[in-house]
């Protein structure tokens, strides 16, 4: 299992490990905002106390100055253009760094569950069984679909692409995999770097 991280996620200077990319503007690109919110949505679907855990992790990582509370977190996540109540405010890079740190930290705590679910998914695929046969996985998928439909604006083109259960399940599985990849020792940095693929000069 993961060894003790030499970088030290608990360090208050956590954000220093995430280098600021050479972006044309000082704001977070659209795809990054969407991706961060979706990853947090998947965490909520995995863990019933996910939204509380996000705030707890923010306090642990001394990110209170960036994620000030429930409302502030909601505002940050609402910069996702797919949201029903999408906020026009931009997301600063430091705020995105804080969310990336929270995602990485929570993903690490969920590593065991993520491995179980993905292994179960693989077995169902090999046996050509529907996803309902894995109770925990079916639970996650149902909750993810509910969260997604409740919060995303069904008229947005990006949301219309996920109009069916099958497509939403596909998205949920993809987010599970991405969360797993974020859970490693360098997962946070890799996630941060991946947010700007195709965006930097």
């Amino acid at each position: 299992m993961p060894v003790e991280n030499p970088v030290g996620l608990e360090s208050p200077l956590i954000l220093d490990t995430l280098t600021t990319p050479a972006l044309p503007s000082a704001d977070c690109p659209r795809r990054a905002r969407t991706q961060l919110d979706l990853l947090l949505l998947a965490i909520e679907a995995l863990d019933l106390g996910g939204s509380e855990a996000m705030l707890a992790v923010a306090r642990e990582l001394a990110l209170d100055s960036l994620v000030k509370g429930r409302v502030n977190l909601w505002l940050l996540r609402s910069t996702n253009p797919m949201r029903r109540y999408s906020q026009r405010r931009p997301m600063a890079l430091d705020e995105a760094k804080a969310l990336v740190a929270i995602v990485g930290n929570l993903a690490r705590r969920l590593t065991v569950l993520l491995r179980q679910l993905l292994t179960g998914y693989q077995q169902l695929q090999d046996k050509q069984l529907s996803l309902d046969h894995h109770l925990r996985l079916a639970d996650y998928l149902t909750r993810f679909r509910t969260h997604f439909r409740a919060r995303m604006n069904p008229r947005r083109a990006g949301v219309i692409a996920y109009s069916t259960d099958e497509k939403l399940d596909e998205l949920a599985i993809q987010l599970l995999e991405q969360l797993l990849l974020c859970s490693g020792v360098l997962g946070t940095q890799r996630l941060w770097s991946s947010l700007f693929d195709g965006e930097v000069a």
């Binding site: 990319p21 797993l180 490693g184 770097s193």
Partner: protein, 464 residues
């Protein structure tokens, strides 16, 4: 002294053997790699081994592919010209991944690695995660190969391939251009719509007539243009064939007089004689009328003409059915007098080109014909002015025995429209038009050729 470092996860074992920089210091980091060994228990029995080159390639491939899975942005393939990397990762179907390794089997002499078929090891996402995590732990481990650290770099915008190939992106534009061309080609065969101006009088006949009658019923100084447009204009019916049968004319005249007398209410007798030119169809319907004196225009409401005239939609368009024209006079004493309409003098009515009735008495004397022919030629030639007609103008001209021109009739279409360019309208004498036809008349053919040459000949040919 040889140091062995091992990174173990459920699906991946990475073992590194090497030498430390300082043999005497047990905490000295591993700096020189001798051998790297990667086993994938539960995936394959093959052991992947290699030196620093293999390890570097493994680290680069795994790290890059991990970021690709997170972002969904495909990293650009290696630049052409460089040899294929020893380790590569490619996405497979259904959340699977392919680890592709080019290495020569252990125990055999080293060969050109590019010549061998590469190993293709399918991995699930969890298995790939274990491989990536061992590599990440190695990268994060400062005690092993300190020079090997994580290098995260986002893909540049310029290196990202567009989501759709050029051909696919250009398809809509090409399709649009093709559709436009096809539509243009199809419409090329459709004739352009013909703009047909409606006959000017037909549409304004009755509605305008009533409105003008209401708006200025007693104004004797009504503008003549408004009156012409407002009242039914028999000029439009001039092109229609004229009824020439005297018996029919008499019947129509009788009928018209009786109808007008019946319909005329004498509660407001006119202040003077009201004269109208009235056009009547063959069946007795009143097709149109036009005032012949100013009082007739002002007091048209006191006559039954507006009520009796047919609506704006006669059964047949004018010009098709034969018509008769009468001069109708309403007297202050309550009498209605109708008489056949006679063309006024050509000075006031230049369009005297009415169809000529058949000759009652023909002049057949050859000498007289020649004399008349010469007289006609001289009279026309005296007033002939240069003109530019696109075609020859041919007329049938009628003369009395005295040489007066009674009338003329255009023979071809151009002659009808261009009569004003010839001296003929000015030569018709008013007196002659009233001349009874019993003294003998003769027809002549007058041709104004395109080149300006005047030809005059007897209508029925030169006498023998």
């Amino acid at each position: 002294m040889t140091i062995k470092r091992q990174y173990t996860l459920p699906y991946c074992n990475l073992v590194l053997e090497g030498l430390s920089a300082n043999a005497n210091d047990p905490f000295s980091p591993l700096t020189i790699l001798m051998n790297a060994e990667c086993r994938l228990p539960g995936v394959t029995d093959i052991t992947l081994t290699g030196g620093r080159e293999f390890l570097d390639s493994l680290v680069a491939a795994v790290s890059g592919y991990g970021q690709e899975l997170l972002s969904g942005v495909t990293r650009p393939a290696q630049t052409p010209g460089t040899p294929a990397p020893i380790v590569a990762l490619k996405p497979g179907d259904h959340h699977n991944h392919h680890l592709i390794v080019r290495q020569h089997p252990i125990g055999e002499p080293a060969l050109d690695t590019t010549a061998l078929p590469p190993l293709d090891i399918p991995l699930t996402t969890v298995q790939f995660f274990d491989l990536m995590e061992t590599v990440d732990q190695l990268l994060a481990d400062t005690q092993t190969l300190p020079d090997l650290t994580a290098q995260f770099q986002a893909v540049s915008r310029r290196l990202v391939k567009p989501a759709e190939p050029m051909t696919k992106r250009a398809a809509p534009a090409v399709l649009g251009a093709a559709a436009l061309a096809a539509a243009g080609l199809a419409l090329f065969f459709v004739p352009p719509p013909q703009f047909e101006p409606a006959p000017p009088g037909r549409q304004t006949d009755t509605p305008a007539e009533t409105s003008s009658a209401v708006s200025n019923p007693d104004s004797p100084t009504a503008p003549p243009t408004g009156a012409e447009a407002g009242l039914s204009n028999p000029e439009q019916l001039a092109a229609a064939p004229v009824i020439v049968d005297p018996e029919k004319m008499a019947v129509l005249q009788d009928q018209l007089t009786r109808r007008l007398e019946t319909a005329w209410q004498l509660d407001s007798p006119p202040s003077g004689d009201l004269a109208y030119r009235v056009v009547v169809a063959e069946d007795g319907d009143l097709l149109g009328y036009k005032y012949a004196n100013d009082r007739a225009l002002a007091e048209v409401d006191r006559t039954p003409l507006p009520a009796l005239t047919l609506g704006p939609e006669p059964a047949a368009p004018p010009g098709q059915d034969p018509v008769a024209q009468f001069l109708v006079t309403f007297t202050p004493t309550g009498q209605v007098l109708a008489s056949p309409w006679r063309e006024p003098s050509p000075d006031s009515e230049p369009r005297a080109a009415n169809p000529l009735p058949p000759l009652a008495v023909k002049i057949t004397d050859p000498d007289q014909l020649r004399q008349l022919n010469r007289t006609l030629y001289d009279r026309i030639a005296a007033q002939l002015s240069p003109r530019s007609a696109p075609a020859a103008l041919t007329y049938r001209v009628r003369l009395t025995a005295d040489g007066d021109i009674i009338g003329y009739e255009p023979v071809n279409a151009a002659a009808g429209s261009l009569a004003q360019e010839t001296p003929l309208p000015g030569l018709v004498s008013a007196a002659a038009s009233q001349t009874p036809s019993d003294t003998g008349q003769a027809d002549f053919k007058v041709v104004f050729s395109e080149t300006g040459v005047l030809e005059v000949s007897p209508w029925e040919g030169w006498p023998q």
